[in-house]
Amino acid sequence: MSGGGMTFGTRADQRRSRFLTYTGLILLAALFVAPVAWNFLYSLKSAAESASINVHLLPQHAQWGTYKQALTLIDFWQYLWNTLLIAVPYATLITITSALVGFGFARLRARGRSGLFVLMLATSMVPQILTVIPTYVLFTRIHLVNTRWPWVLWGLAASPFLAFLFRQFFASLPAELEDAAILDGCGWLRIFARIFLPLSKPVLATSFILSFTWVWGDFFTPEIFLNNDKTTLAVAMGNGYTDPVTDTPLSNVLAAGTMFYVLPVLIVFFLAQRSFVRGVATTGLKG
C-alpha cells in the first residue's frame, strides 16, 4: 500500500486514486466522529480533571462513576419515564391517523382530492417552531399547559409528512386487494384495518420510529409546555448537572448523561437503519 507502486500505467493510477479517496474519507470520518468521541472521553474524566486547564486527550484515570452520577444526581428515570409517557402515545396516535389520511389519499376518491393533497403538502411547509408559541399561549388559556394532552392532540392531528409516506406506499399496492373485499361486502374501515394495515408493517414501523425520535429529540416544545416535574430528558440535558454541594456545573457528568440520552437513538438507528433511510428517502425524493 504505502509507496510501493508496482508498475506504472492505469493500474497504478487506479491504486493511487483509491488511496487518495480512502485518505479523504478517513479524514472526513474523523471530523464527523470527533464531537461524539470527545464527548465520550470527556465523560470519563473526573470533575477536577474536566475543569482543569491542563487538558489531556485521554482521561488520566477513566472514571466510570460519572455514568452512575448521571443517573443519580438528577431524577434521570423520572425524566425518561416522562419522555416515554408523551412519546409512545404520540407516536402511536400519529402513526394511526397518518395511515388513515394516507389511505384516504391513495385509495379513495372524492371531489377536491387532488386539491386537498396539494394543500396537505403545502402545510408541511408551514414553519413548525413558529406555530408552537401561539399554540402555547392558546393552550395556557384552556389549561392544557403542563399536561400531556397537547401531545395527544398533535398525535390525533396526523402529520403531512407521514401521511405522504403512507400514501406513497398504499398507492403502490394493486387494486385487486380491495376489490375482493368489496365484493364480500367489507366496509372501508375494515378493508383498511384488515387488509392494508397488515401489509404496511414496515411503513408503520418507520412512522413509529420517526415520530418517536421527534419527541425524544425535541427540546423546544417540552421546554415551554412542561414544568420541571413533567419535562423530558431533552430538557433535563439542556439544564445540565450541578454539584449538589457547591452548585458548580459538572460538565463531565453532563457528558455522561448526554451519552445515555443519545444511546437509545443510536441503537434504534442501527437496528432500524432501513426504516430511517426509507422514511427520509421516500419523502425527500418527491414532495
Binding site: 464527523f32 486527550l57 391517523t97 379513495l108 386537498l116 395556557t140 392532540l153 401521511a163
Partner: protein, 346 residues
C-alpha cells in the same frame, strides 16, 4: 386517472407489455365507471379528517389567534389588555434587535443552506462508489444528523470550550493561545459548523436519488466521450434537481426558524444554579437569531403582543421566500416526466 397509473406501477412491473395492455383494458372495462358508486365521497373526507381538523385546530387557529394578539398589548397574564393597532409593528421597525436578528438569520440561512446542500451532494457522490467498507463511511456521515439537537449542541460546547475543549487543546500543541470559540467574533461560525455537522441527512436523500439514476445513461455518456464532470453536470445534476429543490425549500424554512442551538450555545447555560437558557441576554450577538428575539419577548419580557407581531413578520417573510423559491423552480428544476404522471421512483 393519474393516480390509477400510480397504483398499477408496483404490481405490473414484471408483466410483459402485451399482457399489461390486455390487463389494463380489462381493468378499465370492469372498474372504471362502477368504482364511483361503491362508496360515498364522505368516506374520503372521513379518512383525511384527522389531518384537516388537526390543521385547523392546531395550526390555523393558533396562528390567527397570534395575529389577533399582535394588535394588542397582551402580557400573557393580566386581563387588562387593549387594542393597540399597528403599534407592535411600528415598534419592530424601530427595534435594533429586530433588524440585527433578521440580518443574522438571513446570513445564517444563506450560508448554511447552500453549504449543507453542496456538502451533502458531494458526500453522496463520494460514497456512491463501489469501495470496500463504504457502508461504514455512509453510516458515519449520516449519524450526526439523527442525534438530537440538544446533544449535538452540548457536544459542540465541549469541543469548542475555551479552556477544556478539544480544538484549543490541539491548537495549543502548535503554540496557539486559547481562543474563545463560543464567544463573539467566532460564535456565529461555530453555529454554522454545527449546522454543517448534520449534512449527512441530505446526503442520504441525495444518495437515494443517485442510485435511481440508470447506469446505462451514464455509460452511454462515457462512450460518447463525456468526462466525469460533464456527466455530473449534464446528467446527474439535472436528474437530481427536483430532490435538490425540495431539500432547498425545507432546509431554508428550517434554518430561518432556528432557535434551540443559539439558546443552548449561550455561555450562561449550565453555569450555576437554574441554568441560563431562559435568559437570551447571554446569547452572543453572533448567535442572536431572529427567533431568539421572539422567544425573549414571550418568555422573558412578557410582551406577548410584540412577540406575536414578530412571529407574524417572520411567518410572512418565510411565506414570501418559499413562494419565490417555488416560483423559481421552473428555471432550474428539471422534470424528466410530467409531474403528475409518476409519483416518484423509489
Amino acid at each position: 386517472m393519474s393516480d390509477d397509473a400510480v397504483s398499477d406501477n408496483g404490481a405490473l412491473e414484471a408483466v410483459p407489455p402485451r399482457a399489461l395492455a390486455a390487463r389494463g383494458a380489462a381493468w378499465t372495462l370492469q372498474r372504471g365507471p362502477r368504482r364511483w358508486r361503491r362508496y360515498s365521497p364522505w368516506m374520503f373526507y372521513a379518512f383525511v379528517s384527522p389531518w384537516l381538523l388537526g390543521f385547523l385546530a392546531l395550526t390555523a387557529i393558533p396562528m390567527f389567534y397570534a395575529l389577533g394578539m399582535s394588535f394588542t398589548n397582551f402580557d400573557g397574564l393580566s386581563g387588562h389588555w387593549h387594542w393597540v393597532g399597528f403599534a407592535n409593528y411600528t415598534k419592530a421597525w424601530h427595534d435594533p434587535h429586530f433588524w440585527s436578528g433578521l440580518r443574522t438569520t438571513a446570513v445564517y440561512g444563506v450560508v448554511t443552506v447552500p453549504l449543507s446542500l453542496a456538502g451533502g451532494l458531494g458526500l453522496a457522490v463520494l460514497v456512491n462508489r463501489r469501495l470496500r467498507a463504504v457502508g461504514v463511511f455512509r453510516t458515519i456521515f449520516y449519524l450526526p444528523s439523527v442525534i438530537p439537537v440538544v446533544a449535538t449542541t452540548l457536544m459542540f460546547k465541549l469541543l469548542f470550550d475555551r479552556n477544556t475543549g478539544l480544538l484549543n487543546t490541539v491548537l495549543s500543541w502548535f503554540g496557539v493561545g486559547a481562543v474563545g470559540w463560543l464567544s463573539d467574533p467566532w460564535a456565529f461560525k461555530i453555529m454554522v459548523l454545527l449546522a454543517l455537522w448534520g449534512l449527512g441527512g441530505g446526503m442520504v436523500i441525495f444518495l437515494a436519488g443517485l442510485q435511481g439514476i440508470p447506469a446505462e445513461l451514464l455509460e452511454a455518456a462515457t462512450v460518447d466521450g463525456a468526462g466525469a464532470w460533464q456527466r455530473f453536470r449534464r446528467i446527474t445534476l439535472p436528474i437530481l434537481s427536483p430532490v435538490v429543490f425540495f431539500q432547498f425549500v425545507f432546509a431554508t424554512i428550517a434554518s430561518l426558524q432556528t432557535v434551540v442551538q443559539p439558546l443552548l450555545l449561550s455561555p450562561a447555560v449550565n453555569s450555576g444554579a437554574g441554568g441560563g437558557f431562559t435568559d437570551p441576554t447571554h446569547v452572543q450577538a453572533g448567535d442572536y437569531l431572529y427567533m431568539v428575539h421572539v422567544y425573549a419577548q414571550f418568555f422573558d419580557y412578557q410582551q406577548y403582543g410584540y412577540g406575536a407581531a414578530l412571529l407574524w413578520i417572520l411567518f410572512v417573510v418565510i411565506l414570501v421566500i418559499t413562494a419565490a423559491i417555488l416560483r423559481s423552480s421552473s428555471f432550474w428544476v428539471y422534470y424528466e416526466v410530467e409531474q403528475d404522471g409518476k409519483a416518484g421512483r423509489r
